[in-house]
């Protein structure tokens, strides 16, 4: 069992097996409270909220609120935190979480300055913690735990791992997979920023050894070389499970930021052609449309049987 599953699900015999506690930083904000409730409705075990200055209060009359992540961890033993604070408060909130010893930090906010992300990645490395995001929809094991903002409908328990830079494309493609009978073992949103706490290649390393994984779907987009690095890694380790990719942004003009801070082609760096050609080199078909992903995956799985 890989580390990410130890953190999110645990092992049979653990007292908190399949009900790992999650702390919500920014639980009293409009966005944080909405998604705290959504996560609870999904079955995620939200054990505490953190809002500096509101320690001692309760969220929805039942979830205790603390001033710091350390207090929340001391009281609950939770190792996972999700962060809904505005971008300008990201650095402080993320430091609070990592220095307290959070093992998995899911950073939702968009528009985080890249220097703040770099600083947090450095701290996470020292502490041996995982950062998902910033600017991510989050991470989930469908039908078990959701640490993020994804709507529940597209996802279903299953054996395909989905890694995605984009949020809505993650929903869209998971939906298409689910309708084609491909449930998901785990879905990880990498985020649309230029620098990610967990890169596609790191996310791949987290999931590649899942024993019962039957396939992998990679949802990339223009900008950077995260996709190329992942394709190279797949070649290097000789990963053989059926894998399909999708790349958004083929028609985007160069040197323009397409919504995501990271979605920009500079010269040939970050171009869709570069990514598609690396995936082709790794013998991974690249879908032209989201709806084509399950079709290609079914084709791959048929061949590998």
């Amino acid at each position: 069992m890989t580390e990410i599953f130890d953190i999110l699900r645990g092992n049979p015999g653990d007292s908190d097996y399949k009900k790992k506690g999650v702390i919500v930083q920014g639980i009293t904000g409009a966005y944080g409270s909405l998604h705290a409730r959504n996560m609870m409705a999904y079955g995620t075990n939200i054990v505490a909220g953190v809002t500096p200055g509101k320690g001692g209060q309760k969220f929805d009359d039942k979830i205790p609120i603390f001033n710091t992540v350390r207090e929340a961890m001391d009281a609950t033993g939770a190792k996972i935190s999700i962060l809904y604070v505005p971008a300008k408060f990201f650095l402080g909130a993320a430091k609070d979480a990592l220095e307290a010893g959070i093992k998995l930090l899911v950073a939702i906010p968009e528009h985080v300055p890249v220097r703040d992300t770099l600083e947090i990645i450095e701290i996470a490395k020292q502490k041996g913690s995982i950062i998902i995001g910033p600017n991510t929809p989050g991470i989930m094991i469908p039908d078990l735990i959701k640490v993020g903002i994804m709507p529940p409908m597209p996802f279903k328990e299953g054996k395909i791992a989905v890694l995605s830079k984009s949020g809505t494309l993650l929903y869209e493609i998971s939906d298409a997979l689910t309708r084609a009978g491909f449930g998901q073992s785990i879905t990880i949103g990498i985020g649309g920023d230029p620098v990610n706490g967990t890169r596609l290649v790191d996310a791949f390393d987290m999931v590649k050894d899942i024993p019962d994984m039957e396939g992998l779907v990679i949802v990339g987009e223009i900008g950077g070389d995260s996709e190329e690095m992942l394709a190279q890694r797949i070649i290097d380790i000789g990963f053989k499970k059926p894998t399909v990719a999708y790349i958004a942004g083929r028609a985007a003009p160069k040197e323009k930021r397409m919504g995501h801070a990271g979605a920009i082609v500079m010269g040939t760096y970050g171009s869709a052609e570069s990514k598609v050609s690396m995936f082709n080199k790794a013998n991974i078909p690249v879908a032209k449309r989201p709806a084509e992903v399950p079709v290609l995956l079914a084709g791959k799985m048929g061949k590998s049987d």
Partner: protein, 368 residues
């Protein structure tokens, strides 16, 4: 945001990086005054936020009044990679011995700042040979690293000293202004061995704008971009006739790709974000109504965070207020999408079950 050359040079000057005398203007009348101040010969340089200016004729030498009167309007009138001149920079002509390349940039692959330097500058970075590459963490450059780079470039004496000084100033600038890229290309060695930044490129991390009110004066936005930002949208204007609207950057890019694959020409990329409300979508339609070239609107919404009924209400209101009179081809999926479909029945907004169907209908109906 990419600054114009003269703006980058304002920052260089502030940080003590050596520059030739130069003055920017936006009218030929002011240009004439500057020409007198500078004295011939000088170079006329178009100010556009893209590279490739030299090849496009945007940099011209000027030796006398006649040349000035001819070339200033010529250069000002150029459009380079779709970008019109924002200003003209007059800069003294330089007596150059050699051209170097120097930049510090956010290295996305390595997740750190990185120096690229070369003794063979003056060409675009893709063609710069013998690149010296040094990873520098959060961007700080020690004397040791700076000296190492100078040595590897084969610089000696006062030129090497000048280079170390320039590199350290560039590092300070990168850190303090939170740049994604600061480039001096060429960094010229003059006949006397001193160094001069002949060109400057500066790309900001727009997410750090809130910490840099002093950079606000460099912000350049069209009216439409400004309104989009106020509404929390991302917009990229394109030159086709079908406006593409959706929620989430990835989904809108994907829709753009599929539309282009089917022969459609996108007029814009408009991401209304996750937190869309009736008001904000109405604002998006207001923006689109201002783009004269738009003949139809393609909407791709994957509801999740956003309720699709909220979007339907915005469309109904836009028709009611005569804000738009354009056909809308939409695919609304997600929470309450069935109800949204009912609401839009009988309006000019057609709802399709798949984005492929919506695109086909849009391309069929909007002929070029």
């Amino acid at each position: 945001m990419q600054l114009l050359e003269y703006q980058a040079k304002e920052l260089f000057r502030e940080y003590g990086i050596n520059l030739l005398p130069s003055i920017s203007s936006t009218t030929i009348e002011n240009g004439r005054i500057h020409a007198k101040e500078l004295g011939y010969p000088f170079v006329i340089k178009i100010q556009v936020p893209v590279g490739g200016r030299g090849k496009a004729g945007g940099i011209q030498k000027c030796h006398n009044d006649d040349e000035f009167e001819l070339k200033y309007p010529q250069v000002f009138g150029l459009t380079i990679k779709g970008e019109k001149a924002r200003a003209i920079l007059l800069e003294k002509m330089a007596d150059i011995k050699k051209e170097l390349y120097l930049s510090i940039f956010l290295n996305r692959s390595k997740r750190c700042y990185t120096i690229i330097a070369s003794a063979e500058g003056g060409v675009e970075i893709e063609s710069v040979k013998n690149q010296i590459i040094k990873e520098i963490g959060m961007g700080d450059v020690s004397d040791e690293i700076a000296n190492e780079v100078a040595k590897e470039m084969g610089l000696e004496g006062s030129t090497a000293e000048d280079f170390v000084d320039t590199l350290k100033k560039l590092s300070k600038l990168t850190i303090e202004k939170e740049a994604e890229l600061v480039e001096i290309n060429p960094l010229a060695i003059m006949q006397d061995g001193s160094l001069m930044a002949l060109d400057g490129k500066f790309v900001t991390d727009d997410n750090s704008n809130f910490r840099h009110p002093e950079m606000e004066k460099y912000q350049e936005k069209t009216e439409i971009e400004e309104q989009a930002e106020k509404s929390g949208f991302s917009i990229v204007e394109l030159d086709g006739d079908i406006a593409v609207v959706g929620n989430g950057a990835g989904l809108v890019m994907s829709t753009l790709d599929m539309l282009s694959d089917n022969g459609g020409k996108p007029a814009c990329f408009l991401d209304v974000g996750g937190g869309a409300t009736t008001e904000s979508v109405y604002e998006a339609l207001t923006l689109i109504s201002k783009m004269k070239r738009v003949k139809g609107i393609l909407v791709n919404l994957y509801g999740g965070i956003v309720k699709t009924t909220v979007v339907a209400e915005a469309f109904l209101k836009a028709y009611e207020d005569n804000l738009i009179d354009l056909p809308v081809f939409s695919r609304l999926k997600g929470t309450e999408s069935e109800k949204a479909k009912e609401m839009l029945q009988g309006s000019r907004t057609k709802i399709f079950d798949s984005i492929e169907d919506a695109i086909n209908a849009a391309v069929m109906e909007i002929k070029h």
